[in-house]
Symmetry: C2
């Protein structure tokens, strides 16, 4: 695939001029996703706004989903995370998922990216659209929809609701004693809820 | 208790001049609670900011807790709500609580007051303090801490986390199909979670 060559010293995979283009693409993507939502934004439109060819976006990010993940600074790769969560088997998925979530929230940098998204979603409908599309299309299928053919999307949305609430209550509102509990204590309380949402009998 | 008399026609319980003072008190309370938190704000300070005697605040609102509830436009009285939630007995508390919450969120006016609080909490630490103090001190004791002598505050904070997450996911991010489910379907899925948090065995 043809790629613009702007730099003179291609010694490594990442060339000196790349970081500028890469950042311009991320900025354009953030602005367009926030304004038009994820499905309403094409790679071509992002390329045009960033002043680069769409092929360069593919070179840097592969897919639009991965570009979105980097634009919103989502802290983990959903596919890789799913490998870990499902390694221990169906009966441990609630616990492993709770652990992944709490560990991610514990890191202030990782947390602030997600908080920025949630805050934006409470103000801007397009930001809510973007977050919803990311959660439904990129996060839910690998992480929440593998186990149960019965209502997989519903189960995914319930698990996500519990996770969002845990994050808001523990780190934003800082309800006590939830805010001061250890990671293991939080996991022990939350795991059965996620396990039921993902694998339990529908009411 | 001495009360300023500003109006001439006290035909009813509410006098013509009252609404101005009442609104001034609410505005002063909102500003001071948001800046200094709930415990950091005295009735006297609110009276001074509103240009009225603290006794008038007591006349209008009774307690500081009730003033806070009106200032933030919290949509129900926690004590009255608790009467309803606990009427059906210990084994139905998850279901009744889920129903109260979803019915409250369904009303756009009631929802927007809570959303305003959550949004403010993600931006302003003092607003998060105010919301936390309201939830821990006014909402949790009557609604969440009656049933179990084992970790009552922890159980309350977990139930609140699930409720906040349900609100964010269903009405802000609008995750599907959770956002489109009927009230009864949501209650059926969420009730066992609240029941376990409030009455289940600690892990």
């Amino acid at each position: 695939m043809a790629q613009p060559r702007k730099t003179r010293t291609p010694r490594t995979g990442r060339r000196p001029g790349d970081s500028g283009s890469r950042e311009a693409i991320l900025e354009a993507a953030r602005a367009l996703f926030a304004e038009h939502g994820y499905s309403g934004t094409s790679m071509r439109a992002i390329g045009a706004a960033a002043g680069v060819d769409a092929a360069l976006i593919v070179h840097f990010f592969g897919t639009k989903a991965r570009l979105l993940r980097e634009a919103i600074q989502w802290p983990f790769d959903p596919e890789e995370a799913a490998e870990r969560v499902y390694a221990a088997g169906r009966h441990h998925v609630g616990e492993e998922l709770a652990r992944l979530v709490v560990e991610t929230w514990e890191s202030e940098g990782d947390r602030s990216a997600i908080m920025t998204l949630l805050r934006a979603a409470t103000v801007e409908p397009a930001a809510a659209d973007m977050l919803r599309e990311f959660m439904q299309n990129e996060l839910a299928p690998p992480l929440f929809q593998r186990l149960n053919p019965d209502h997989p999307e519903l189960r995914a949305s319930l698990a996500t609701a519990q996770i969002i609430g845990l994050g808001m209550a523990r780190y934003v509102v800082r309800l006590e004693p939830l805010a001061s509990m250890t990671l293991d204590e939080v996991v022990a309380w939350i795991a059965p809820t996620l396990q039921r949402y993902l694998t339990g009998k529908a009411p």
